[in-house]
């Protein structure tokens, strides 16, 4: 088994290769939002760090979102096409679940009962979910991962969950003021582990492969967690008035 994992849903693109011994070989971009420019070179770099070639790959894994729409698409288009052309199966992994998994493996957050990753979705919104911390993977999901208002999430956390919570993701950076206003039993993940990373995608992908959760390249579907604005408007009936204006 040799899995290439791609993560392009956050600011920095990253790749990781995991081998059958569970060893990781990673590569990460230092530039922001240069996913399309760098993703192939990063993939090749992770492979050469592992001393392997693309022909040795058994699977291509990718973060399917939520996160940057453009980032999701660059990652999936790349992973699906690599799977298609190398004739190997693909594995889709949730960016939020991968972030939770990363935290669960970090000694610093052992005392937290819950992990809540939150990705900034702008206008007071986040993509988030609630996972139970533990050593057994995959982690147990306690609350649906979806789009939340940040206030809705802080309310949910303070009313439903009394345990110590580790918050992670760039939602922290975006809504720090709001999080401070509603003090919960939180600790914030350190910046060196706060953001999306291909290593976590690789870790979960290895588990999914063992569980037989691999898919063909044409069944790799994104999880945007949000309709397009035009679809929302169509649904609300506010589309027609706008497009009639020249």
């Amino acid at each position: 088994m040799l899995i290439l994992a791609i993560e392009t849903t956050g600011k920095h693109a990253s790749t990781a290769v995991i081998d059958s011994d569970g060893k990781y070989f990673c590569a990460e971009s230092t530039n922001e939002m240069s996913h399309l420019r760098e993703i192939i070179d990063l993939s090749d770099k992770a492979l050469s760090n592992a001393g392997k070639s693309k022909k040795d790959l058994s699977h291509v894994a990718v973060s399917i979102g939520p996160g940057s729409f453009t980032g999701i698409r660059i990652g999936i288009a790349t992973a699906a096409t690599l799977g298609q052309m190398l004739n190997i199966p693909c594995v889709g992994v949730s960016s939020l679940e991968a972030m939770s998994t990363g935290i669960s493996c970090d000694e610093r957050y052992k005392s937290c009962e819950l992990i809540v990753p939150m990705i900034n979705a702008r206008r007071h919104q986040i993509y988030a979910g609630v996972w139970q911390n533990g050593t057994k993977l995959p982690l147990k999901k306690l609350n649906e991962d979806r789009q939340y208002m940040i206030e809705e999430m802080t309310k949910l956390l303070s009313s439903e969950y009394k345990d110590k919570i580790c918050l992670t993701g760039d939602g922290i950076d975006a809504y720090e003021e709001i999080l401070k206003k509603e003090p919960g039993n939180y600790i914030l993940a350190d910046e060196n582990i706060r953001y999306q990373s291909a290593k976590n995608i690789a870790m979960l992908a290895a588990i999914k492969v063992k569980a037989g959760e691999e898919v063909s390249y044409n069944n790799l579907t994104p999880d945007y967690m949000r309709l397009t604005e035009a679809e929302q408007r169509l649904r609300e009936g506010t589309l027609s008035s706008r497009i009639k204006n020249l």
């Binding site: 192939i40 288009a77 096409t81 052309m85 390249y217 035009a230």
Partner: protein, 338 residues
């Protein structure tokens, strides 16, 4: 290589068609897979970029599969990959570019980034096996109105462009206002056949003498003002007459300038390209005016006028022969110039 022929895979995702095609030796068409999103966008009255991007991602891999299968070509036979990297919708372009780079990397195939507009002109090589530069080209589409001098393969000198709306865009906008809907170009074309092109005297905008540039936004304002005054005076609006008059005001200027460019640059051939090159009246008018100057007009079939992967494959072939290569750092350039 297959049967001794150089095989190119062309990929195109700049707007609302997900397309891939295979050519042999640059200009022999082996397959032309096009997955059009037009029905989806019709519901919204125009191309919605975020929806286009999502659909491209859904369709890109199956479209590439179809192109290979229809051509009876294996990916191992492919010698070159060409992909549109601009101009176009950035969210749409990135899907094609990401896929093309992944194929190039996975299968060790050289890659060329293609300018979408060069692609439209290259479509003529597929349709006309004997066509060689030099010639004059007119590219008219929903996004572009250009007059281009083509002195050699892989060389395009832009002589004129629109300063505001493209011809196709003008048709889309007017079609929306008179209730014909989207896509405007074909609907105006059809409605105009029933109408009187002299019914409304829209002003022709030629800009400075000798300029090959275009401006269509004033025409749109004229049309809106006309509609308002007709409505205010309680007169019934004749959609066909307005369509015919508006179309005539657009295509007459386009035809005049294209022919003037060919004459000025001593080109005896004019290649028509782009979606609006299918417009019946534009074809008719250009044929009429070209005949007066002994200019031969070359028109690609409708399927090669709209966005497709074949034209990208052909443009890529000539670019590659000219030494062009793209690296894995190829990016989308939504505002790419000629």
């Amino acid at each position: 290589m297959k049967n001794g022929k150089f095989i190119t895979l062309g990929i195109e995702t700049s707007c609302d068609e997900t397309a891939a095609a295979i050519t042999a030796d640059g200009r022999q068409l082996l397959s032309n897979a096009i997955n059009s999103q037009i029905d989806i966008h019709t519901e919204f009255g125009g191309v919605v970029p975020e929806i286009a991007s999502r659909k491209h991602l859904e369709n890109i891999n199956s479209t590439i599969d179809k192109a290979l299968k229809d051509a009876d070509v294996d990916i191992e036979d492919v010698d070159l990959i060409g992909v549109t990297y601009g101009p176009g919708l950035v969210g749409a372009l990135i899907i094609g570019v990401a896929a093309a780079k992944s194929i190039a990397y996975a299968c060790d195939i050289p890659l060329v980034g293609v300018n979408h507009m060069h692609g439209h002109i290259a479509a003529a090589y597929l349709e006309h096996p004997d066509l060689e530069p030099p010639f004059m080209a007119l590219v008219v589409s929903g996004g572009h109105t250009n007059i281009v001098n083509v002195p050699a393969y892989n060389m395009c000198e832009k002589l004129g462009e629109t300063r505001d709306d493209a011809a196709g865009e003008a048709f889309d906008k007017i079609a929306r206002v008179i209730g014909l809907g989207y896509p405007g170009g074909p609907k105006i074309d059809r409605a105009a056949r029933e109408g009187n092109k002299e019914a409304v005297a829209f002003k022709r905008v030629y800009l400075e003498p000798d300029s090959f540039d275009f401006s269509f936004s004033g025409l749109k304002t004229q049309a809106l003002n006309y509609l308002n005054s007709e409505r205010q005076s309680g007169r019934k609006i004749n959609v066909s007459d307005i369509a015919a008059s508006f179309q005539e005001a657009v295509v007459e200027v386009v035809a005049d300038k294209a022919i003037a460019a060919a004459v000025k640059y001593n080109q005896n051939r004019l290649v028509m390209a782009g979606g609006v090159a299918s417009n019946t009246r534009l074809r008719e008018l250009i044929a009429l005016k070209a005949a007066k100057h002994d200019i031969e007009v070359l028109k690609p079939s409708s399927i090669l006028c709209t966005d497709n992967g074949a034209m990208i494959a052909t443009a890529a072939y000539y670019a590659y022969m000219d030494g062009d290569r793209a690296g894995f750092d190829l990016e989308a350039d939504p505002a790419l110039q000629f």
